[in-house]
């Protein structure tokens, strides 16, 4: 893109100055640790409600399709989600279907959060017993179609290491005890930065409770499926991550010691407890990155306004 020529007396801001402003604003604000006020979106509140009320005896399938390129949004969402699932002692069947890097990123995050939670609760969350990696599925369309028909058949040939280090069929893991079909799962949760949520919804909707955690870019088109009821809850972008963290820290519609409700929602009106009173990490990367996001968006709006002021001035100059 060519930089327009500077007109004397005009507001034309060079591209380099805009770049520098964004760099400075985001770099400084990432170190500012403040808790910004937040109003939880309806879709995030629904997501939190479903997660808190999930049947703990049933495992969930967690499809993780994000890599570090979207770690600001997806990473924060994934951490918050896994924190909730581990604290609720829900068993996880982890899988990926979009990027070969995704499984490694997700496994590392689950291991990290399992250790973090164990320090507080004293209860380990072990691979094979509490969570299992069921595989990377490059042909995700056919795989999900197969999950939809017969989950046990679809996964019987996939293996993971048991606690003794022996490779065994994932269906022999305690995670899948009593599970034969997709309908036996507690939920199908997808964390994605691409269109894989759509592939999953097309094949599994109506058979299992589906939840989505998507990036801001994917938000508008995935919101369609939340509005239609095919997704029971949805977190969108960094705001979604911060919403989840806020609800984890203060509960939803739950008064604190002084009777003040810090986080409320007009759609989900039942009081839902958070994870207060223990040394749990609730406010994490969502809170950390929402401050620079505020800075970046304010800068973006300011730049748009300045650009338009310049346009109006030029128009006036032209008209004499």
């Amino acid at each position: 893109m060519a930089t327009p020529q500077k007109v004397p007396g005009s507001l034309n801001i060079p591209r380099e100055a805009l770049f520098a402003a964004l760099f400075v604003v985001c770099s400084i604000l990432v170190f500012v640790s403040i808790e910004l006020p937040n109003r939880v979106s309806n879709n995030s509140a629904d997501l939190y409600k479903v997660l808190k009320e999930i049947d703990k005896t049933k495992p969930v399938i967690l499809q993780s399709d994000w890599t570090k390129s979207t770690r600001g949004e997806s990473g924060a969402q994934f951490d918050a989600l896994v924190r909730i699932l581990i604290r609720e002692r829900v068993k996880i069947a982890l899988m990926s279907g979009a990027d070969p890097q995704a499984p490694e990123v997700a496994r590392e995050a689950i291991r990290r959060i399992a250790v973090e939670t164990e320090k507080v609760t004293g209860q380990p969350y072990k691979q094979w017993e509490d969570w299992v990696f069921i595989g990377f599925f490059p042909g995700i369309e056919a795989s999900l179609q197969s999950f939809s028909s017969n989950l046990r058949n679809a996964l019987s040939a996939n293996k993971d290491s048991d606690t003794a280090g022996v490779k065994r069929s994932v269906m022999e893991s305690p995670v899948f005890a009593g599970v034969n079909r997709i309908e036996d799962m507690g939920a199908y949760i997808i964390v994605t930065a691409s269109k894989t949520s759509r592939i999953a919804i097309e094949r599994l909707s109506g058979k299992v409770t589906m939840l989505g955690l998507v990036t801001g870019v994917m938000g508008p088109e995935t919101y369609n499926y939340y509005q239609s009821g095919q997704l029971s809850g949805l977190a969108i972008g960094l705001k979604g991550a911060y919403d989840m963290e806020s609800m984890m820290a203060y509960g939803l519609n739950t008064p604190d010691g002084q009777g003040v409700i810090k986080v409320s929602n007009a759609k989900v009106t039942d009081p839902i407890e958070g994870y207060t009173g223990e040394e749990f990490i609730n406010l994490a990367n969502g809170q950390k990155y929402i401050v620079p996001l505020h800075g970046a968006i304010i800068l973006l709006i300011t730049a748009i306004l300045l650009g338009n002021i310049e346009t109006i001035r030029q128009r006036r100059r032209r008209n004499g």
Partner: protein
């Protein structure tokens, strides 16, 4: 045991791999010897049969409540069982075929850059760096995999402490998490700079449509800011919105406006586009399945 599935490292598996490879090469050779006029018809037949399976799955009655070891009661149930069992084999086939695409991508990348280096074409040092990186990453990746595969559970447990990590694992962490993932995040974040620059230069009030777009964009952006939403709501509360929940002024809350834009303008628009794309995809799928595309066997 699932058909076609054998224990890792077993003789049966080795025989199965050998037979499959021999059959694969045999088929490949036979296809090469087939007259060119027949080849599209063979491809069309396989495409039709593969598609027919999924049409069958969609249309054939499903065997509800099937338990392991159940025997089909009649022909209809027998076909339903067969369709259900065949799907997992198709799933494996699809995953293997897609993995080959990844392999083909790597092969193509290496061939392109190796040619560039050998002929010392323009910017060849960058190609050399790429080839070295591919080689190192592949080597370290496999070394790490083999190291972890051969570790005992207590050694794996001890690895939680990073000081106990073997060199291969440490190197993989350094290259994958420390370098590749960080660089990927940095590359992606560069987009923000271009968005800012483009928004400043292009988002101008030049027409009525552009003005409407600009106004809605600013409202939606403000809706992403919890702080703005909060102070805007306080303002509405002070205007009487808090005392009367049904007051008209409550419709001016930022979240109400953004929700309105999202529910009534953005989502229906996207839904209409999606619907059109879906109908188009269905037509395209039919044309592919029946090989009606130009150059197909029936054209």
């Amino acid at each position: 045991m699932i058909p076609w599935s054998f224990e890792s490292g077993s003789t049966q598996l080795k025989i199965a791999i050998f037979v499959t490879l021999a059959l694969g090469f045999g088929l490949f050779f036979a296809l090469m010897k087939t007259p060119p006029r027949l080849r599209p018809k063979i491809a069309a037949t396989f495409t039709f049969l593969a598609g027919l399976l999924y049409v069958g799955i969609w249309l054939w009655p499903t065997a509800h409540g099937r338990e392991a070891g159940d025997i089909p009661a009649n022909f209809t149930e027998g076909v339903a069982f067969w369709l259900e069992d065949t799907q997992s084999q198709f799933q494996n086939l699809s995953n293997i075929l897609t993995s080959f695409l990844l392999l083909m991508g790597v092969f193509s990348l290496v061939r392109l850059h190796a040619t560039r280096v050998s002929k010392k074409q323009r910017d060849w040092p960058f190609s050399l760096v790429l080839l070295i990186c591919v080689a190192i990453m592949t080597f370290i990746g496999y070394w790490d995999w083999l190291t972890v595969m051969n570790m005992k559970p207590e050694e794996l447990e001890a690895m939680r402490d990073v000081t106990n990590q073997p060199f291969a694992v440490w190197m993989k962490d350094l290259l994958f998490d420390g370098l590749l993932q960080t660089m990927e995040a940095a590359m992606f974040s560069i987009i923000a700079f271009y968005i800012l620059s483009a928004a400043y230069r292009a988002f101008r009030v030049r027409s009525v449509e552009a003005t409407i777009l600009l106004a809605s964009a600013i409202i939606v952006m403000l809706g992403l800011l919890g702080m703005a939403e909060n102070y805007w709501s306080i303002m509405i509360d002070n205007m009487g919105g808090l005392e009367d929940p049904n007051a008209l002024v409550n419709n001016l809350r930022l979240e109400a406006i953004t929700q309105f834009i999202r529910d009534n303008l953005q989502t229906p628009g996207l839904r209409a586009i999606d619907f059109g794309v879906g109908v188009g995809a269905l037509a395209m799928a039919l044309r592919l399945w029946l090989s009606l595309e130009r150059g197909g066997s029936t054209s």
